[in-house]
């Protein structure tokens, strides 16, 4: 099964009943598969919208009816979604956005892999906010993490991103599809509660449109009733800080990762396609003194995991961009952080990673 199709199947397994999208290489197979599958599922709707702005808008609208809803795109379309992604954050709308990353900037390399949108997903919309982003490194993870994304979206009432890349999206591997996947729906809105009043975890309950709760949803700064209140600094501050902290405070809880060899001196930190090469080097070639941290949750960044390597001499960060996560890691550690940037579409080769370890002072 192809990564993109696994992602679509993961969504369906999680009960996704609305897909609004616009074709773009290399994400198109997600939509195409949904177009084939959804018309056969009662109550499910696939719609091809007029553009990506409309796609994410429709997805947010659908989410408010209580549907699990999703879209899939790639760089240029992702850029177009930025305004409405901010709206989803501000209105605390649970939804899932798949980005199969390709080479940018601009139209760039439509058919080649990249990881160049990994900062954009965090900073691409205006203003301060936080989101959750996951990164699969296999077709199986495409399935699993897409399904999981819906649960996180519902639990935290926030858009959740599957930041895959062309390598993983277009690769075919055998996967195991479980009979059923775990499903966590949003906390219901307690009777009499205000629709945007947070629970102890900073997340408010959710009531779907049509259930008589008369919820006014707005992208303006609003109070707990949902009424606009745009000139009161304290209101804005408390709202935005809550939206950020409901996610950032749960970062260790949200973290999904693998650690191999905590005793390592040269630690790869990786996510997405480069995980494949890292594992080749660490697990198959058994390069001495090396280990790795694979992040399946990329944002919120689980910086605490970096301290799980007591003997680390350097973090080596292979990315298919010019060192984006390496920037983030630099903020948190005092040992050298060595970005191994590769852009243009090819995956890092094992030799390149071996070289990087050598350059960091290893394998002597």
């Amino acid at each position: 099964m192809q990564g993109n199709i696994a992602s679509a199947e993961g969504a369906l397994a999680a009960g996704c009943t609305f897909f609004g999208g616009y074709p773009i290489t290399p994400s198109t197979e997600v939509a195409e598969h949904m177009a084939t599958r959804m018309p056969k599922i009662k109550g499910a709707c696939f719609i091809q919208m007029e553009d990506e702005i409309a796609s994410i808008a429709a997805v947010i609208g659908a989410a408010w009816t209580g549907a699990r809803s999703m879209t899939a795109t790639s760089g240029p379309g992702f850029s177009l979604m930025m305004e409405n992604i901010g709206y989803a954050v501000m209105t605390e709308t649970p939804c899932v956005i798949v980005n199969i990353q390709r080479g940018g900037p601009s139209t760039g390399q439509p058919t080649m892999a990249a990881q160049g949108d990994i900062m954009q997903v965090k900073f691409g919309s205006h203003g301060d906010y936080s989101i959750i982003a996951l990164a699969p490194s296999s077709v199986q993870e495409c399935f699993d993490l897409t399904a999981k994304a819906f649960n996180l979206a519902d639990r935290f009432r926030t858009p959740v991103f599957l930041m895959a890349d062309e390598v993983i999206g277009h690769m075919r591997e055998k996967i195991e599809i479980p009979d059923s996947v775990e499903i966590v729906r949003p906390k219901p809105l307690p009777e009499g509660a205000l629709p945007f009043a947070p629970g102890p975890d900073g997340v408010s309950g959710f009531a779907a449109f049509g259930t008589g709760r008369h919820i006014p949803v707005t992208g303006l700064t609003h109070d707990e009733r949902g009424y606009p209140d745009t000139t009161n600094p304290a209101r804005h501050e408390s709202l935005v800080r809550r939206l950020v902290s409901k996610i950032e405070d749960a970062r260790h809880d949200i973290a999904d990762y693998s650690i191999v060899n905590e005793e390592a001196e040269y630690v790869f930190v990786c996510y997405g396609a480069p995980v494949r090469t890292v594992r080749e080097v660490v697990e198959r070639l058994r390069l001495p003194d090396t280990g790795y941290l694979q992040l399946r949750t990329v944002w919120p960044f689980p910086e605490g995991l970096l301290s799980r390597f007591p003997k680390v001499k350097a973090f080596i960060v292979p990315e298919m961009n010019l060192g984006m996560m390496a920037r983030e890691i630099e903020r948190h550690v005092s040992v050298p952080v060595i970005p191994v940037s590769k852009i243009g579409g090819d995956l890092h080769t094992p030799e390149e990673l071996v070289e990087a370890v050598k350059a960091a002072g290893g394998l002597l």
């Binding site: 919208m49 007029e50 429709a58 709206y87 919820i215």
Partner: protein, 263 residues
């Protein structure tokens, strides 16, 4: 009755004195009441603009979205749950400037929603810039020497794009407007009701309609009933300057989307 649909705790609303938006809200609520729709199942959706603030004053579920995108959001709501009734409030800027694409595509799909456009020929919310419906020669902060771009005819556009129901009235024609909205609500498929209305603050002030009543008087005297015009005017005659047709432009039954299954 209509009061049951209002969020009393948010009134008075932010509209300027004499703004046409408040009137149009009344007429739409009046029409919605007449449908007998369940308040729980009725959703109001809007973009950004003074006009788009209307849903915030109505006691139902509502989405006040991003500028121009109301119809795209509405499409998601309606397609995900066709049993909901979806009404969009929008402005000329919201619908026809930034939102033009969603507008024509919803007409094409003939999705079963009703769109009420409060066309005040200006961007009210941002302080009076020209819009795609500002008539040639009228001044605004971005057309200080008079607008020179041709305006859209929103009704024509909706028809060419495929909408099932298209009508135009003004904030003066409250009765006819209410009836027309009701027809729109009851017509399966996409309905556009364009309502020309006064913005005394941003449009009137710069165009010699300073008082709300001034523009009302203009609307009253320059709106030409379509039926009457077609009956009486010799074919090919141009409308008098500054006049415009009001009435029902089309009511038809093209295939629609978003209507609940019969089952």
């Amino acid at each position: 009755m209509r009061d049951d649909w209002l969020r009393e705790d948010r009134l008075p609303h932010i509209y300027c004195a004499g703004c046409g938006n408040g009137t149009i809200m009344n007429c739409v609520l009046e029409a919605v009441e007449k449908t007998g729709w369940d308040q729980k199942k009725t959703i109001f959706i809007s973009g950004i603009g003074c006009s788009s603030r209307a849903p915030g004053y109505i006691l139902t579920d509502s989405l006040h979205t991003t500028h121009g995108r109301a119809i795209a959001f509405a499409t998601g709501v309606k397609m995900a749950n066709p049993s909901l009734h979806v009404v969009v409030f929008t402005g000329d800027g919201d619908l026809a400037a930034i939102g033009g694409n969603h507008f024509i595509h919803a007409c094409r799909r003939n999705i079963d929603i009703t769109v009420v456009c409060m066309n005040n020929h200006i961007y009210g919310m941002t302080g009076g810039q020209g819009s795609p419906t500002t008539p040639i020669g009228k001044t605004s902060t971005t057309t200080p020497y008079g607008a020179d771009e041709a305006p859209f005819d929103l009704a024509e556009l909706a028809m060419a794009a495929g909408a099932n129901y298209v009508a135009r009235w003004t904030s003066f024609h409250v009765k006819q407007l209410t009836d027309s909205v009701l027809t729109g609500l009851n017509t399966p498929g996409f309905s556009l009701i364009e309502v020309r209305c006064q913005c005394p603050t941003s449009y009137g002030r710069r165009n010699k309609y300073r008082e709300p009543v001034d523009y009302m008087t203009y609307l009253k005297s320059h709106a030409v009933l379509k039926e009457k015009w077609e009956r009486s005017a010799a074919p090919g005659t141009e409308l008098p300057v500054d006049s415009f047709l009001v009435g029902e432009f089309v009511r038809r039954q093209r295939p629609v989307m978003g209507v609940p299954d019969e089952a």
